[in-house]
């Protein structure tokens, strides 16, 4: 048999039918649904008199527009409330499991899938959200889809997809202290650009990836879309198996043993080839901070804001000029020392328990700087509960952070958590687009320890300089 990549193996196992005109019908093992990109899909089913083909493979939650304040209070925004009611009605009418605002398992769809053990190696997973790539950390083929495709998957349990190319991102070495998976993926995006992997699925390989925890792997895969890839994957290994063991929806008993045996086959064969290839040395990565309005506009924290003249093409120069104007930054400004107004610790990229622990270690015994408003939004109610068991909520609260309920929150600003125009935010989220966190808001993407340190200092700092002190704790 010919040598195959991890991607090939998952793809081949899910082809229901190869259409002569190009794409394949690919079977979907898990369809995650949320309130914002699904109402039109359910309406389409109703109008056509169609049902959901596999309700048991479809799981719904609310995350994008939910308030993160008091859960007992009614939702102030009537349009947001209508969307939540629509999902509840659709789940009821079509027989789907729903983790709603009252559920202790509610949370960001890409946080709850893995923590419930719904996400498993070798699956094809889809969701009407581009950060579905997150689940690829388990060796699943997971991708974001549009609402029409959501409707298609609901009705047929299949996705129509033309086989994409493959790209290997091989990461050697080890991350230095103070440098995280977030810095690694930002550095990669900075290198290949936001369209560097368009039309491809990335497989992250190499000793640096093997050394990462599941939470860190999810952070890396999550931002594959910011490099243009619809999906990112990491082959499952012992770390994956240990993470999944005993999760509520993971297989049990003999089924578990069979599943683990299958998962162990999910790796790229030696001799298999990729269409594209990039190498990165983790030991050379520094903490990253974005300076512009695209995740590729990123530099090590020791760097300076570039000048349009540093770029070659007209299009790049125009983009940089525009980005600097929007961000209110002059060329040559050092990133370190840049004052910030807000801090957001959250999102499907960086709101898992390890992220909160890393941020809490940074702020313990310190206090948020005067004039800075800082917020922690756990990725799920379970992450929140775990953090509270560990006393992290008190660490954050005593340091002056707001401690919230789970949701997407200020990552996309659909709920009441938004930046005011001109406010500068250190954010652990994934997109620094114009207006993403609120019209006129200025987002700097960075890791949880970097954002936590910025909250304390009141400006962007190189968290590595705190390393000696942090290690002593």
């Amino acid at each position: 048999m010919t040598a195959r990549t991890l991607f090939d193996k998952v793809w081949d196992a899910h082809v229901v039918h190869q259409l002569p005109e190009g794409p394949a019908l690919l079977y979907v093992d898990l369809h995650l649904v949320h309130e914002v990109t699904s109402p039109q899909a359910f309406e389409g089913l109703r109008q056509a008199g169609r049902r959901v083909r596999q309700p048991a493979l479809t799981v719904a939650t609310v995350d994008h527009n939910v308030p993160t304040g008091d859960r007992a209070a009614p939702i102030a925004d009537p349009i947001a409330a209508r969307q939540l009611e629509a999902l509840a009605a659709n789940a009821r009418d079509f027989g789907l499991e729903l983790f709603d605002l009252r559920s202790p398992q509610q949370g960001i769809v890409h946080v709850i899938g893995p923590e419930l053990g719904l996400t498993q190696p070798g699956m094809v997973i889809v969701c009407g959200d581009s950060h579905t790539a997150t689940h690829g950390a388990f060796g699943a083929l997971a991708l974001g889809i549009g609402t029409s495709e959501v409707e298609h998957v609901l009705a047929t349990q299949c996705l129509v997809w033309s086989k994409p190319g493959t790209m290997e991102a091989r990461v050697s070495g080890a991350l230095p202290p103070g440098v995280t998976a977030k810095d690694l993926i930002l550095a990669l995006i900075g290198r290949i650009g936001t369209a560097g992997a368009t039309g491809h699925v990335i497989e992250y390989t190499g000793e640096a990836m093997r050394a990462l925890s599941m939470e860190e792997r999810m952070t890396v895969c999550n931002m594959s879309i910011e490099a243009g890839a619809r999906a990112g994957m990491i082959a499952p290994d012992e770390t994956t198996v240990v993470y999944l063991a005993g999760r509520p929806r993971a297989p049990r008993g003999a089924a578990w043993d069979r599943a683990v045996a299958k998962w162990r086959e999910l790796h790229t064969d030696s001799g298999a080839t990729y269409d594209k290839h990039i190498e990165l040395d983790a030991s050379e990565v520094a903490p990253q901070v974005t300076w512009g309005t695209s995740p590729g506009m990123v530099t090590p924290v020791t760097g300076r804001v570039p000048s349009p003249a540093d770029f070659t093409t007209d299009a790049e120069q125009r983009a940089v000029t525009r980005a600097l104007e929007y961000m209110g930054l002059a060329p040559g400004t050092p990133l370190e020392g840049l004052p910030i107004d807000r801090v957001f610790l959250g999102s499907c990229t960086n709101a898992r328990i390890e992220d909160l622990r890393a941020a809490a270690r940074t702020v313990r015994g310190r206090h948020v700087a005067t004039g800075v408003r800082a917020m922690v939004v756990p990725g799920s109610q379970q992450v929140k509960a775990q953090a509270e068991r560990e006393g992290l909520d008190r660490v954050f609260s005593e340091a002056g952070f707001e401690w919230r309920n789970a949701g997407c929150s200020m990552c996309l600003g659909m709920n009441p958590d938004v930046l005011q125009s001109g406010e500068r935010c250190a954010s652990t989220s994934n997109r620094n687009f114009e207006g993403r966190q609120g019209r006129g808001g200025r987002t700097h993407l960075m890791s949880p320890p970097m954002a936590a340190a910025a909250a304390v200092a009141g400006h962007i700092v190189d968290v590595r300089k705190w390393a000696g002190e942090l290690a002593a704790r």
């Binding site: 005109e21 309406e43 169609r50 083909r53 209508r82 549009g146 495709e149 525009r322 207006g435």
Partner: protein, 197 residues
């Protein structure tokens, strides 16, 4: 169902920006609707309107010559970011039938094909030539996009071809319902499910 796209002649609007993300095309405050309609007025909202709600005269689509445009030429990696199909619904409702760019983000490209909005990939020098011709004509520039022939021309010497996967081309040409198309293979889906059980 979806309006078929065979060929279309219309006025071209130009947006000389790269990496136009779907957050710009339709900002998040407009994603709370549960219908597929009502997004056109919010297209490019934060670029198109000033904070006081008045039209921003600097924005490309607000130029008088861009009024009534049905074709859009834009920079590379158009439609990157969020998977929100609302971006495509907004572009369609505003009146666009086709977008021409050097490259599109994958999810956006797929969403376009689901809604009769034709995404046309051209070479960088062809996109540059369209921008040049658009500017030289003071924005009064007409173009024909022909999916049947897979050609773009302006009747004034600009003429090129583009490729489109046969599956998607078929769907766009005839405005096919993709679910109906897939359900022709329902027996195979059933057999696959049985084989796994």
């Amino acid at each position: 169902m979806m309006e078929p796209f065979v060929r279309h002649t219309g006025r071209l609007a130009a947006l000389a920006r790269a990496n136009v993300d779907t957050d710009q095309i339709i900002p998040k405050q407009f994603l709370k609707r549960v219908e597929r309609t009502g997004f056109g007025p919010a297209l490019f909202h934060d670029w198109r309107f000033r904070p006081d709600g008045s039209p921003n005269p600097e924005f490309e689509l607000n130029h008088p010559a861009a009024r009534g445009a049905t074709l859009l030429v834009a920079g590379e990696n158009f439609g990157c970011g969020s998977s929100r199909e609302h971006a495509v619904w907004a572009l369609r409702e505003y009146g666009f039938r086709a977008i021409l760019a050097q490259s599109f983000a994958d999810i956006f490209f797929a969403n376009c094909c689901q809604n009769g909005l034709l995404p046309v990939r051209l070479l960088p020098q062809e996109i540059a030539e369209l921008f040049r011709r658009h500017q030289a004509a003071g924005g009064e520039y007409q173009l024909t996009v022909d999916l049947e022939e897979q050609r773009v021309h302006d009747g004034l010497g600009f003429r090129t071809t583009f490729s489109m996967e046969p599956y998607r081309r078929e769907m766009l040409l005839h405005g096919l319902d993709e679910i109906g198309r897939t359900l022709r293979f329902e027996d195979r889906i059933g057999a696959y499910e049985k084989g796994r059980a």
